[in-house]
Symmetry: C2
Subunit: 397 residues, 2 copies
């Protein structure tokens, strides 16, 4: 049979990361391709204990239908342990929980965006979000970034000209660029949203995974005009397989997110939400983040050292102070896609090439994204040796 | 602030069931409103034991990113324990798991349907699906049903005339009508799908919750032309709060479902999927279904007896052989919505009125949907007494 698929389906490209994920079943392959947290940092004992406690004490609550905006103890714990410590004022009416923050992003797009709407994204940005935006046929406008993330003067210039409906930004340890927007720029983004009347989708899965430098307040803190949705995830701070994310949104938006989520999955699975709530309410998150920071720092530093040691001159990148990624520009306008293919087949090392992260694919032509969080330091060093060799071979051609 | 929401958002109405769910926090209210399974039938001990076993034995597997089409042991167990016993031939390439079958329905619509496409539904049909169809601006065509469900002659007549893209059907213990399509009609539906080139979305969450009569094979069994998606759920057979559903789809469709799901939530939570897989693999489902059948039968019979005893003459309904619902036509063209409002406020008894289940709301004007699965028999009797009194009062006006 041949099916006529919808326009949205035809516009949706398979995720380059998920495709790589499938290829990496070969245990010989060292993958710097995904966005996985360090599994060596998972709080295994705590999660085992919490899961058993909940399934014993709240069995029926885990099994009956739950409320669409999320398991109430999780919404409360998210406010108390994640939102309020950042200085953000919010109530339960602002909070919706999701099957990972990815669902939150998709549903935010669903309630706000029509075909042809103008949406601003950082250049480069997370390919998963580009996919859900492209699916909807919006007009994507990349806003230039530097080593401090989104350039607010460029944002203002484009906002004045193009009247965007929404800005999508990853303000901390950006995916893929690894950079973090400083406080003054964040404040300015909130001001510009008010001035030019657009919604800011502040996607912050990585902000709390910081191993160096000082904390920066969320854009939401400066949101006097109620224009900012702060989207958080427990995939990077706790574990991705539980699929729990949550947001603080303006009430009007939170209400629409709830209604649209009813039709999407009624509600997210209750047990994973309850596990996260209990983890937070036992006061374990702060200590956990302190415990994992050195693991991330060690891996980041191994990647930086490996690049410096094995990569040729002319590779450009910015060190990160948290998160999971380094975004590297190859020398000599090298074809990153061809390099990535060669590396996985010939050198058994995987990473994602730059094009899928860019609205205009050519902007990512000679970039690669290297993940350091998911791989032990010694393997990162071996991966760098392999990639460095492949780059030098390409240069010699 | 005032936000300009998307067309899809503007077209989406809050679920009447979810709205009722919120109202029913008052413990005095007896609710025949939802679609909840009997919580007294939950296999609590087994689920506790399985959950502890999994979280001990497979902790890391539960926490890392999973594959988008679902946790592999669940996909395998679904084939072995649910699909194959129905005689349906399928492989892993046909199987996608979801956060409840509701997500499966939504994503099927997402990959197949564009604004203006013709979609056939039974009249009446599940309001949640009407919502996700209306959201997409499709042209909905209600196909008449009788006490044996979808009338296939009507289906053929309309298919010839209107060239539908898809037929959505709930073949067993239909929601809301409670009726089941017999084998000959099922076979004919598959033939018509081949002949008139449309996809059949066979939504079968209730089929295995049978307490009387003989099993009927799924429409998928007769799907020689690869036109049928069989959607199953563990919400009704096991528990809704775990949010696990799965489908067998033509390979081409399964591939698109996977790609579209990547952008929606990457994958569903792993732990709930693993719990269902283990439940199946321990061979517990068959015994569990046998154990819950008498509970459902008792409640169904209490509802039927209560209607006969307390409702006035002129109420029309068909008894069910499984599932959760009875669909009742009120006498004297009575306004069911007004009755439902009066009942919840004045008589502390909840149910859903018929309009949200109908493409043309007036077709449901004098119908009510009564759920029997979620409420103990003695309370169902009390609920019937209350509703009967309210109907008689309305008649006397």
């Amino acid at each position: 049979m041949t099916v006529q698929f919808s326009k949205r389906c035809q516009r949706t490209r398979p995720s380059a990361i998920r495709a790589l994920f499938k290829k990496c079943v070969d245990p010989e392959i060292i993958s710097l391709g995904g966005g996985s947290p360090a599994k060596e940092g998972f709080p295994l004992e705590e999660i085992r204990d919490i899961t058993k406690h909940i399934i014993d004490e709240k069995t029926v609550d885990m099994l009956i239908y739950g409320l669409t905006p999320g398991y109430k103890p999780l919404r409360e714990a998210y406010l108390k342990w994640i939102v309020e410590p950042k200085g953000v004022k919010a109530t339960l009416d602002n909070v919706i929980c999701f099957t990972g923050s990815g669902q939150g992003i998709d549903l935010t797009c669903e309630i706000l965006l029509d075909e042809g709407d103008v949406v601003f994204v950082e250049s480069p940005t997370f390919l998963g979000t580009l996919n859900v935006l492209n699916k909807r046929g919006v007009k994507l406008v990349p806003i230039p970034t530097d080593e401090h993330g989104l350039i607010v003067e460029e944002l203002e210039k484009k906002a004045k000209e193009l009247h965007p409906k929404m800005l999508y930004t990853i303000p901390a340890f950006q995916n893929p660029a690894g950079v973090t927007i400083p406080t003054d720029r964040r404040k300015r983004i909130a001001e510009l949203a008010a001035e030019y009347d657009f919604i800011v989708l502040e996607d912050d899965p990585y902000g709390d995974v910081r191993f160096r430098g000082e904390k920066v307040p969320p854009i939401k803190l400066f949101d006097k005009a109620d224009k900012v949705i702060m989207m958080n995830s427990f995939s990077k701070t706790l574990a991705p397989g539980i699929r729990v994310g949550a947001c603080v949104a303006p009430v009007e938006i939170a209400q629409k997110l709830e209604v649209i989520k009813q039709g999407c999955d009624t509600h997210s699975s209750t047990l994973p939400q309850a596990i996260v709530a209990e983890f937070l309410n036992r006061g374990l998150m702060e200590g956990h983040l302190k415990k994992i920071a050195p693991i991330y720092a060690e891996r980041h530093d191994a990647l930086v050292a490996g690049i410096r040691k094995y990569f040729p001159e002319g590779c450009k990148f910015v060190e990160a102070e948290g998160g999971m990624f380094i975004w590297l520009k190859l020398p000599n306008h090298m074809d990153a896609k061809a390099l990535a293919e060669k590396c996985i087949e010939q050198y058994k090392v995987a990473f994602v090439h730059g094009e899928p992260f860019c609205v205009n694919p050519e902007d990512g032509f000679d970039y690669i994204r290297l993940n350091f969080s998911g791989t032990p330091a010694d393997k990162i060093t071996i991966a760098c040796e392999r990639i460095g060799k492949a780059i030098k071979e390409e240069m010699a051609k």
